[in-house]
C-alpha cells in the first residue's frame, strides 16, 4: 500500500510539473504571481524546512532528524545523516478589487539544500540555494495624452504591459556546532544575488488612426550581488515536565545585506533592413540596494515524540530597506512581523503499524503584517497550512506535501485582495550513500 501511495505521489508530482510546464508554454499567465510583488524587490520568501512548511512556519525552534533545515544555522550542529532536499510548488492567486477579478498561477522551485555531518551530531555543514524575494507579476497600465492643438490636436492612447520576473537568491554555505546537549550555534555566509527583470511593452495608438507609432519594447534588468550573513542559536531542554517531553528554543538573525546593483535597459527593436529583432543594452543606473535585518525566533514544545506545538515569530526591518535603483512608487516599506503557530503529529513514532499511523501530519496558521504600505493600508496576509509527510519504506527519506490557503491584501482603498492557495512537494533524502552511519 505504501508503494502504491508513493507511486500515486510520484504521479501527482509529475502531473503537477507537466501542468505547470504546459501552462507556461501556452498561457503567459502561468508565470504570474502576486500583483504586490511588483513593488520593491518583490515579496519576501520564507522557507526554513519542508516539514515546518506544513505549519506555515520556518521551524527555527525544532529539528527533524531526517529533514534538512535552513531555518536556523545552529540546527546543522545536530546533523547525523547526510541529507539533501529540494522542492517544487505551484501557487494560485485569485485576485479581486472594486473593478474586477483575475486569476494567476505561479510555478516555482524554491530551494535546494545539502546538509552533511562533519562530526556526527556535533558539527555539520550546509550548502544551499534559496530565494530571498520573488518577483512574478503582470501589470497593465493604460492612459492617454492630448498632443497638438487646433487642426493638429490628437489624442494618444497608450497601454503599457509590464511582466516582472526573478528575484533575489541566496547561495549559502554554513556550519553549525552543537556545543553540548543544550546549546548549539551556527553561522552561514552567502552570496546574495539579485536578478529582477521587468519586461515592458508599450503600444501607442491615436484616435486619428495614423498608426505610425512603433511599439516600445525593452527589458529593465536589475542585477547585483552582495554578501549575506546569518547566525543562529538553538537551545534544547529535554525531560522538562516528564521523561519524554522536550522544549526547544531557536532564534536566527539575518543581517542586513548591501547589494551593489546596476540597472540596465535592454532594448528590442526591429532591424532597419530586415524583420529580425535586434537588441542593445545600456546601463541606466548604479547603486546600492540594502536588504533589512531579520530576526526569526520560536519555541517548540514536544510532549512526546508524537506531538509538537510551535509558536514562532519573524521580524524584518523593512523600514530600513533602501533602493537607489528605482523609486518606491508612492509605496512605504514598513517593518514586517509574521507570527504563527502550528502543531505536528507523528503517529509513526509510536511504532503503530496502522495505515494512517505511517504518515506525518502538521497544521498551522500565520499572520503576516507584510512589508508594504500601499495607499495607507498594510498589505497583510493570513495563511492556513497543512502538511502530510510520506516516509520511505526502505530508508529515512521522505516526501513532504504541504497545502496552504490564505488571504492577502484588502479591497479597501481600491487595493487588491488575493485568495491564495498552493501546493508544495518537497523531496527529502536522508542517509546519503557514503554518509550513511554504520550504527544506528
Amino acid at each position: 500500500l505504501r508503494k502504491l501511495l508513493l507511486t500515486i505521489l510520484i504521479f501527482s508530482v509529475s502531473a503537477l510539473l507537466t501542468f505547470a510546464q504546459t501552462g507556461g508554454q501556452t498561457d503567459s499567465q502561468a508565470s504570474e504571481g502576486s500583483v504586490y510583488s511588483s513593488f520593491g524587490v518583490g515579496l519576501p520568501v520564507d522557507f526554513g524546512s519542508s516539514s515546518a512548511r506544513g505549519m506555515g512556519l520556518n521551524g527555527t525552534s525544532y529539528i527533524e532528524p531526517f529533514v534538512p533545515s535552513l531555518a536556523n544555522p545552529a540546527h546543522w550542529g545536530h546533523t547525523v545523516y547526510g541529507m539533501a532536499s529540494g522542492d517544487v510548488g505551484i501557487t494560485n492567486y485569485s485576485s479581486e478589487d472594486n473593478f474586477g477579478s483575475a486569476k494567476h498561477s505561479n510555478l516555482s522551485i524554491s530551494h535546494f539544500q545539502v546538509q552533511l555531518p562533519i562530526y556526527k551530531g556535533k558539527l555539520g555543514v550546509s550548502a544551499s540555494f534559496t530565494p530571498y524575494t520573488r518577483t512574478a507579476f503582470e501589470t497593465i497600465e493604460t492612459g492617454s495624452r492630448v498632443i497638438g492643438s487646433g487642426n493638429t490636436r490628437n489624442t494618444l492612447d497608450f497601454r503599457t504591459e509590464t511582466l516582472g520576473s526573478g528575484g533575489i537568491s541566496r547561495y549559502e554555505f554554513g556550519v553549525g556546532w552543537k556545543i553540548n546537549n543544550t546549546i548549539a550555534v551556527g553561522y552561514a555566509a552567502s552570496l546574495v544575488s539579485a536578478s529582477i527583470d521587468n519586461r515592458v511593452f508599450t503600444e501607442i495608438s491615436d484616435v486619428n488612426e495614423v498608426n505610425n507609432f512603433a511599439p516600445v519594447n525593452f527589458t529593465l534588468q536589475n542585477s547585483g550581488s552582495g554578501f549575506g550573513q546569518r547566525a543562529g542559536v538553538y537551545l534544547e531542554f529535554p525531560s522538562l515536565l516528564n521523561e519524554n517531553d522536550r522544549l526547544s528554543i531557536g532564534t536566527s538573525v539575518t543581517f542586513p545585506v548591501k547589494i551593489d546593483a546596476r540597472r540596465t535597459q535592454e532594448r528590442v527593436f526591429n532591424s532597419n533592413d530586415s524583420d529580425q529583432l535586434e537588441e542593445d543594452e545600456n546601463q541606466i543606473a548604479e547603486g546600492t540596494v540594502e536588504l533589512p535585518l531579520g530576526i526569526n525566533a520560536g519555541v517548540t514544545y514536544n510532549p512526546s515524540n508524537k506531538y509538537g506545538i510551535t509558536v514562532e515569530g519573524l521580524f524584518e526591518q523593512w523600514s530600513g530597506y533602501s533602493n537607489e535603483l528605482r523609486s518606491t512608487r508612492n509605496t512605504s516599506f514598513t517593518d514586517r512581523l509574521k507570527i504563527g503557530t502550528g502543531m505536528k503529529f507523528y503517529p509513526f513514532a509510536s511504532g503503530s503499524d496502522k495505515f494512517l499511523s505511517q504518515f506525518k501530519y502538521s497544521v498551522g496558521a500565520t499572520y503576516d503584517t507584510g512589508h508594504l504600505e500601499v495607499n495607507g493600508e498594510d498589505i497583510n496576509t493570513l495563511m492556513f497550512s497543512a502538511g502530510l509527510g510520506l516516509l520511505s519504506p526502505n530508508s529515512n527519506s521522505s516526501i513532504d506535501i504541504s497545502l496552504e490557503y490564505g488571504f492577502r491584501g484588502t479591497n479597501s482603498q481600491n487595493l487588491v485582495k488575493e485568495d491564495i492557495w498552493g501546493v508544495n512537494v518537497s523531496l527529502n533524502l536522508a542517509e546519503l550513500f557514503f554518509f550513511r552511519p554504520k550504527l544506528q
Binding site: D27, G100, I140, T142, R145, T202
Partner: protein, 393 residues
C-alpha cells in the same frame, strides 16, 4: 486616467495600485543652422523635359529650353524617305505651370553643337543656330501637338538616314546636333513626355510607284534634355527658403540623432517636421494671375550626403526618408522612427550633412517655399520625439 492591473483570462485588477508612472512624452527639438545649398543638377534623358517661359513673382523669371535629337533607325531600303517629317510632342498635363488661359508660343530651331543627354546640366548653354526656324507651334490646354519640320532640316536628317557606311551611326552622333524647343513668350512652362513623343515620317509616294498605301516611319527620341535660366528671383523673408524639384537649391542642416542627444531610448516615433510657407506661395500665385497655377503636390526628400560629392551621390541610394505634406499643420512630415531606433545615424562622417530636396528630378519643374531655422519659433524645422517614460518600472 491611470490604471494598473494584474491581468488574466478572467479580467484585470489593481486599478487602485500606484502605477509605474508610465506616460507619453513628446519632445520637440528645433533644427538650427539650415542653409540653402545650390546644386548644378543634371537635366537630361529624364522622363520629361520642360520648356516654356514665365515670370513667377516668388520663384523668378524662368526660361526653359527643351532639347531633342531623334534616333537614327536602321535603314529600310524599301522606304522612300521624302521631305515630310512631323515632330509629335506629348505633354504631361499633370503639372501645369503658368497662366492656363494664355497661349505659349514656341519655335523649333536647330542646335549648333552636339549635346549628350546624360551630361547636360540645368545651367548649361547649348548653342543654337541663328538660321531659319525648323518649325513653330503654340500650346494652350492641349495634351499633344504635331509640328511640321522644315524641308531643309528633314533633308539634312535624311542624308544621315540613307547613309550606308559602317560609320553611319558614329557620323550621326557627332555631326547631327538635334533641335531646341525655344519659348517665344512668357506664359507657361510645359513638360514633354520624352518616351511618348516621337518624329513621324510619312513615306513619299513616287509617281511611278504601283503602291497606293504610304508606310510611316516612327522615330523615337535619342537624346533629350532641357536647360533652365532662372533670373530675377525676388528676395524672400530670411526665414523662408525656396526649393526646386530641379535640385537647383536644397536645404542643408546638421542634427545629432543619437539616443543620448534625444534623451530617451524608448522612442515610439521620431518625426522631422518642416513647415511650408503657404502665405508666400499663395500671395505670389495671386500675383502670377487669376488663372495661373503651379504644379501641385510634391514630397520632400531627406538625403544624407557627403558635401564634397553632392552631385555624384544624391539619388535613391542615399535617400533616407520622404516627407509627406499634411495640410492639417501645413508641414511636411518625415517618419524617422526606424532610422533613429536602429541608430542608423550613429556613424555619420564629419563631411556628411542632411539635405532636404523637393520633389523628384524627372524633368518637371516644381517649387516650394519652406520655413527654415530663422523663421518664427513655431515655424522652425523640428524633430519631434514621442517616447514612453517608464522610469519607475
Amino acid at each position: 486616467m491611470l490604471q494598473v492591473a494584474g491581468c488574466s483570462d478572467s479580467g484585470s485588477v489593481g486599478g487602485g495600485l500606484p502605477g509605474t508612472g508610465s506616460q507619453i512624452v513628446v519632445d520637440s527639438i528645433d533644427i538650427s543652422g539650415t542653409q540653402v545649398q545650390p546644386l548644378p543638377a543634371f537635366s537630361g534623358n529624364l522622363q520629361f523635359l520642360s520648356t516654356g517661359s514665365l515670370q513667377d513673382p516668388l520663384f523668378g523669371n524662368l526660361t526653359a529650353t527643351g532639347l531633342v535629337k531623334p534616333t537614327l533607325p536602321p535603314l529600310v531600303e524599301e522606304f522612300n524617305f521624302g521631305t515630310d517629317m512631323t515632330l509629335r510632342l506629348v505633354f504631361n498635363t499633370d503639372v501645369p505651370y503658368g497662366d492656363t488661359l494664355a497661349t505659349q508660343r514656341y519655335n523649333i530651331v536647330e542646335l549648333n553643337e552636339v549635346f549628350r543627354g546624360n551630361a547636360v546640366r540645368l545651367n548649361d548653354k547649348i548653342e543654337k543656330s541663328t538660321g531659319p526656324v525648323v518649325g513653330s507651334f503654340t500650346v494652350q490646354n492641349q495634351d499633344s501637338v504635331d509640328i511640321e519640320l522644315s524641308e531643309d532640316w528633314v533633308c539634312s536628317y535624311r542624308d544621315f538616314y540613307i547613309a550606308t557606311g559602317e560609320d553611319r551611326q558614329m557620323m550621326y552622333s557627332r555631326n547631327f546636333f538635334g533641335l531646341a524647343v525655344v519659348p517665344q513668350n512668357q506664359a507657361q512652362v510645359i513638360s514633354i513626355n520624352e518616351r511618348a513623343s516621337r518624329f513621324i515620317v510619312p513615306e513619299e509616294i513616287l509617281e511611278d510607284s504601283e503602291e497606293s498605301e504610304r508606310d510611316t516611319l516612327n522615330i523615337g527620341i535619342f537624346e533629350s534634355a532641357y536647360t533652365l535660366d532662372r533670373s530675377n528671383t525676388q528676395p524672400v523673408d530670411e526665414g523662408t527658403s525656396l526649393l526646386y524639384s530641379t535640385f537647383e537649391q536644397m536645404l542643408e542642416f546638421d542634427f545629432d540623432f543619437s539616443l543620448e542627444n534625444l534623451g530617451t531610448q524608448n522612442i515610439s516615433r521620431a518625426e522631422l517636421v518642416i513647415f511650408r510657407d503657404n502665405l508666400a506661395l499663395n500671395q505670389s500665385l495671386t500675383q502670377l494671375g487669376e488663372s495661373a497655377v503651379r504644379p501641385p503636390g510634391g514630397n520632400l526628400q531627406l538625403f544624407l550626403l557627403d558635401e564634397n560629392e553632392l552631385v555624384a551621390s544624391i539619388g535613391p541610394n542615399t535617400l533616407v526618408a520622404t516627407g509627406i505634406y499634411e495640410p492639417e499643420d501645413e508641414a511636411y512630415h518625415f517618419n524617422l522612427t526606424d532610422a533613429v531606433r536602429t541608430r542608423f545615424f550613429s556613424n555619420i562622417e564629419p563631411d556628411q550633412s542632411f539635405y532636404i530636396a523637393f520633389g523628384q528630378v524627372n524633368g518637371t519643374i516644381r517649387s516650394t517655399a519652406l520655413f527654415n531655422s530663422q523663421a518664427a519659433p513655431e515655424n522652425r524645422p523640428k524633430v519631434i520625439i514621442t517616447s514612453v517614460n517608464t522610469e519607475n518600472n
